[in-house]
Amino acid sequence: MSAVTADMRDTIAPPSTKAIAPSKGNRPWTFYALATLFALYVLALYGPMICIYILSFQDIRGGLVFPMKGQSLHWFVDLFTQVRTGDVKGSFDRSIKLAVIVTIITVVISFLAGLGFRKRFWGDGVVFYMMIGSLVAPGLVLGLGTGLLFQALGLNASWYTSALGAQLSWTLPFGVLVMFAVMSRYNRAWDEAAYDLGASRWQTIWLVIVPVLAPGIVAVALFGFTLSYDEFARSLQTAGSLNTLPLEIWSMTLNVTSPSLYALGTVTTIISFIVIGASLGSIVLIQKRRGRAAEG
């Protein structure tokens, strides 16, 4: 999370400082030990995922474990056509719509909150700790509370009302924290300069703050989308009668024991990678365009 802190910081302005450790001479033994650890970590991180991607391309004889039995797209077709795997297509649809809505709301609210938190104000600590609380509270408990609340108020729980709110209680703290990190690099003198030159508050936001922070705002959007798209615990009690994709996957884990499950994994991961790639790509593009303007 403050993840992107470091990460964005570097994307925004690659630090000129070099890696600390001995910048010349032979590498110490610790380098090799740690490099091995790192390689093992990355292997453990990606290895299992790669296994299921491979196994999802088996043919009709396929099972849940190696060895690979044939190669085909059978299980992908199966995934979207078979009734027993549930309403995968519908839940896909809902999850993506929901994620888009959550992303937009998260970006707008996080940005405004980031602006607000630049100055101290009475009660800012309360809001801040409310946010931290929302981040660390057990998702299932929050989800249940929201579900009961809707029930008590006589409202119907559905993915675009209660689940939307429940997901925002999860994506917003992340979004605001990332915004904090992004804004800590913003120079307040830019605001004053804009004011000095006659810009209104809104002109300052649109012409200065938003474009300067654009890469960070993309990062917030990435968080909003992926956290919503994968959200499970908070949606479980709040999604109502129609499932989101993670809920669908969850029910599949309980009753589907065919490589369809893996096929679904492959498909969602592809979507995640598209979103990640698009986000990182647009950050790089923003930087590049600035770089090119600079060379012209």
């Binding site: 993840a3 470091a6 570097d10 994307t11 690659p14 400082t17 890696a19 450790a21 610790t30 490099a35 650890l37 790192f38 453990a44 991180l45 290895g47 299992p48 995922m49 299921i52 474990v65 609210i109 909150a113 602006l115 607000g116 938190f117 100055k119 101290r120 104000f121 009475w122 800012d124 809001v127 409310m130 946010m131 609380g133 929302s134 981040l135 660390v136 509270a137 057990p138 299932l140 408990v141 249940l144 929201t146 609340l149 008590a152 709110g165 209680s169 917003l172 924290l177 904090f180 800590s184 615990a233 996957i249 969850w250 884990t253 499950l261 893996y262 994994g265 991961t269 995640s272 979103v275």
Partner: protein
Amino acid sequence: MQPSASPAQTSPRANLAGWLYVSPLVLVLVPFFVAPILVVLAASFFATDGFGGLTPGFTLASYVEILHSALTLKLYLATIKFTVLTWVFTLIIGFFVAYFLVFHVRNQLLAIGLFLLCTVPFWTSNIIRMISWIPLLGKEGLINQALLALGVIRQPLEVLLFSDLAVVIAYVHQLTIFMIVPIFNSMARIDKKLIEAAIDAGASRFDIMRLIVVPMSKSGIALGTIFVVSIVMGDFFVVKVMSGGGSASVVSAFYEDVGVLQYPNAAASAVLLTLVLVAIVSLILRTVDIRREITS
């Protein structure tokens, strides 16, 4: 994000502006975080008719029942066991991975690339990443196949999947990133000149780590700990799937209670868990100013 004045000195106008900016955030957090928590709190004092109906009232029966139950102790012990194991492994792996990236990778661009490599899975589905252990850890999984082929074992190991071991593996797999990122962040902020000065003063590699790196990464470790502890303690999904139903945690028991409509019991146990969590988190927060940590 550098507060210029203490809140007590802010003008009414600054207070109003601050609240205007954070009001959308508050308008989401109040109905979807504060209210649900209060609902759960209220429900914990209600009586139940045993069929999902709640009788408003005030009774401590649910708490008495929970606190007297031997099961509660067992659940908490199990949860604490998972939490501590996961914390230890994520901390060790996270610390050394971050240390490797910051202090051993000489090429800055490579370090950022490797860092991104670690963060990408964070943006993909947790459920899928968990399922992906099946082809590896299963009874006929790759590890058993390999061990059998090597002749290390004669019978496939059953403890690999659907066991406490599998639960811890899945946690570590998902949560190490929450350690790496904040620790990486605080390590990256250590002034490299400090290390050079220490080397000049004759400090050994170990001294540097003990006397400079560890103390200066403390805030990152604290932040990572908050994430890992609160996620593991609030999780039910990993326990349920990866233990194959063999183990339970506080929240998975909560989930079962909800499933059989035992709302007051579930709520009481949730309140208890939240209190424990708040205690742990605030204990950690005493050692680190999280707000400054994120924003500076």
